[in-house]
Amino acid sequence: MKIGVPSADPNAMTSDMALVTAIRSGDQGAMKALYDRYSSIVYSVALRVLQDTGAAEDVLQDIFMQVWRNPGAFDASRGNMAAWLAVIARNRAIDALRRRRPEDDIEDVSVSVEHDLVSKADRSRIMDKVRGALQAMPAPQRSALEMAYFEGLTHSEIAGKTGEPLGTIKTRIRAGLLSLRKVLAA
């Protein structure tokens, strides 16, 4: 019988912070557990951006090696581990896509997510809502948001690509983000 556990994922009972604490002590087993829990998130994000399995694997390796070398970079008070890794994966993949040096250190990334993303079931429920919100967006709004997020284009580049005014692109991107937040708050 499962008693009072908030998560449907039993592995989540070894909290992310407990794993991070063990990794700080040099525990390679904890590092493997963290990888098994979150590698698919990091890899999926990197693959979506880079569209290349080898390059996505490089980003995956780079991010987890940084966590190994500097586990203290994850600060639970500043964000959820799944969200934190997803953001870092996206940023690193965009850096790789644009062949530029990493713009920010993993210590500099903080993410405020007010939803419980610890278990796969919770993540799946939230993701269904986000995907629904994306589908419900006007196509130009969704497209502008995805070009900025998954292709790493600046608003000027998006404006050049679509032939739309800069102000329109800015407004579309912000409106898209706010509509995501609105759906999640409902």
Binding site: G4, Q61, A82, L117, V118, F150, S156
Partner: protein, 266 residues
């Protein structure tokens, strides 16, 4: 929303990394001075992380896991330990480990830190009228964060004082805030783990229901360990806490292993 409207669109683009250089520099200058916009930026990054998480795709190939395992094996990091010369010089008055800081002070500062984090959220919404108060709170929060960071730093020296001639015993301290599901647990003098074993912390509900797993952990070379805010169900009144020795995968439904330390209440 308390964010400055004139920066609202630029903040969204900044969170995406989609702002051109000149506008980015202008916004970064504003962010240095505006806690409200910094908070909004974190929220936007949170929204964007959810966008990232929608990219359900194939799992990474097994070779990627092996590649990582090989790489971390090539870069082993030993748990922090005092230099040999320092260990040899210890005398009777610095025998074992733990809080020279004192439990009461440590607990107080940790709770102050958590409280200030919550307070900050409210202050952001009323920033105009509360700016001065917020600056003060931020300063205190920084102090509390530094204290918490010291408490949780595995490399920080922790000394526990015991009566002369007494052998240090395993001990732990759980600080639990039911309302916010906050749990901070410190342990010291734990025996080294046998092979393929791990310690597990348990919360015993006052309702008499089955114990709730509250985190697996391994102590450092001196037997010290910390568990911070494991996932816990809402609104559970705790009667007690205990640590058991479990198989390495843990016992997630109920303790199966040997009890090591058990709470005695306060």
């Amino acid at each position: 929303m308390s964010v400055h409207e004139q920066f609202a669109e630029d903040l969204a683009l900044y969170a995406l990394g989609a702002l051109d250089d000149a506008e980015r520099q202008k916004l970064e200058k504003h962010l240095e001075e505006c806690a409200s916009c910094r908070r909004e930026l974190e929220l936007l990054r949170g929204d964007l992380s959810l966008l990232a998480l929608t990219t359900a795709g194939p799992r990474p190939p097994a070779r990627a896991r092996q590649r990582l395992i090989s790489a971390i094996a090539a870069e082993p990091r030993l748990p922090a330990a005092a230099p040999a010369s320092e260990r040899q010089q210890r005398s009777w008055w610095m025998v074992s480990t733990w809080p020279a800081l004192g439990w009461a002070a440590a607990v107080g500062l940790v709770i102050v830190g958590i409280g200030l984090l919550l307070q900050n959220s409210t202050l952001h919404q009323n920033l105009a009228s509360l700016r001065a108060q917020f600056a003060d709170q931020e300063s205190k929060l920084e102090q509390a964060n530094q204290t918490v960071a010291t408490l949780l730093d595995p490399e920080a020296m922790k000394i526990e004082l015991v009566a002369v001639g007494n052998k240090p015993q395993p001990r732990g301290k759980a600080i639990y805030q039911r309302r916010n599901r906050n749990l901070i647990f410190f342990a010291s003098n734990l025996p080294p783990l046998p092979a393929q074993k791990i310690y597990e912390l348990w919360l015993f509900p006052a309702s008499g229901r089955a114990p709730i797993a509250a985190g697996l952990f391994k102590p450092d070379a001196r037997g010290s360990a910390t568990v911070v805010n494991p996932p816990l169900p809402a609104d559970v009144e705790a009667k007690n806490f205990a640590v058991t020795l479990e198989p390495e995968s843990g016992s997630h439904e109920s303790p199966r292993g040997t009890p090591v330390i058990v709470g005695v209440g306060e």
